[in-house]
Amino acid sequence: MSTPLLDRPSALPREALPPLVDLVVALADNKHALGLRYGEWCSSGPTIEAGVAATAMAQDELGHARVLYGLLEELPGAPHRSEHEWAAEDARTVGLLEQPLSSWPHLIVANVMLDQALAQVLDAALESRYLPLRQRTRKLIEEERFHAIHGRGWLLQLAAEGPEVRAELEGIIGQAWAETLCWFGPDAGGALAPLVALGVLREAGEPVRQRFLGTFAPLLHGAGLAAPVRAEGGRWVLAEPLPWSRWDEARRRVRHA
């Protein structure tokens, strides 16, 4: 007998609400910020086509945020958030998005790292038992497919320009590394573990991080970029441990040292 779906907010067990609300707020806030940051490059891309693509990705991300804020409205106890009342001061956005992306390489790193990290977390909701989340996720994931192609293509193009650009890319990747990889949560999922137990997410924590690294690490290698990760025994092993002591679980941020 198949596991029954949770077809409305009132069907969610009480213990699922706080982590689900926190996750949806963080997903939506980061997608909203990503949309704004992509959009700031609509007329400044290295080519006209690149600027239009950044605009298209901006529209996609702002649309995704709108969908996720809509999901939030249905959840009891959720903070009021919308694209119109989104407040930058309490946004649960990662450090990379707090300021405008200062260069095209910054945009591409945000594209290949954060954008794809959020997509991996959403992918874990594709077969969610919580029907409102499941129904919204598929279209979001489909649009992210083109974001991945864009980021991959541009990272390879930029890296091919020479050692100075590769050093710049490595620096930006280094700045975003810890916060992006912590976003999936601690090994067993941390605050997201109850959502996995309930079937709201397929997985969280280390399995999702490994899935992300399974795509990102080979991309870095193919681009000739150094990264603090290596393949070992069928897994991706980080050169340095992640700063879990500074990890803010609810806001999904790494606090400054």
Binding site: T47, E49, V52, A56, F146, G153, W154, Q157
Partner: protein, 75 residues
């Protein structure tokens, strides 16, 4: 290799409904096939296409064209 600026040109074809022929909707300049796909999707979004393809202009095989002898000699 035919280019606009320094990047290869890709012709973009699309159709709105089943049974309709693929029609030329424009072109994009991109360094490779992958980015050509992204740019075509981004730029030619005025319709809800059911299918869109990109073809590198260099892959186009001329059949007939009205060209001067000087152009033919150059080619």
């Amino acid at each position: 290799m035919k280019t606009i600026g320094s990047e290869p040109v890709y012709e973009v074809f699309a159709r709105r409904v089943d049974g309709e022929p693929l029609r030329h909707v424009g072109c994009v300049a991109a360094p490779d096939d992958a980015l050509a796909r992204v740019y075509a999707r981004s730029i030619y979004d005025e319709e809800s296409w059911i299918e869109m393809v990109v073809v590198p202009r260099r892959a186009v095989i001329p059949v007939e064209s009205v060209r001067t002898e000087a152009v033919d000699a150059h080619a």
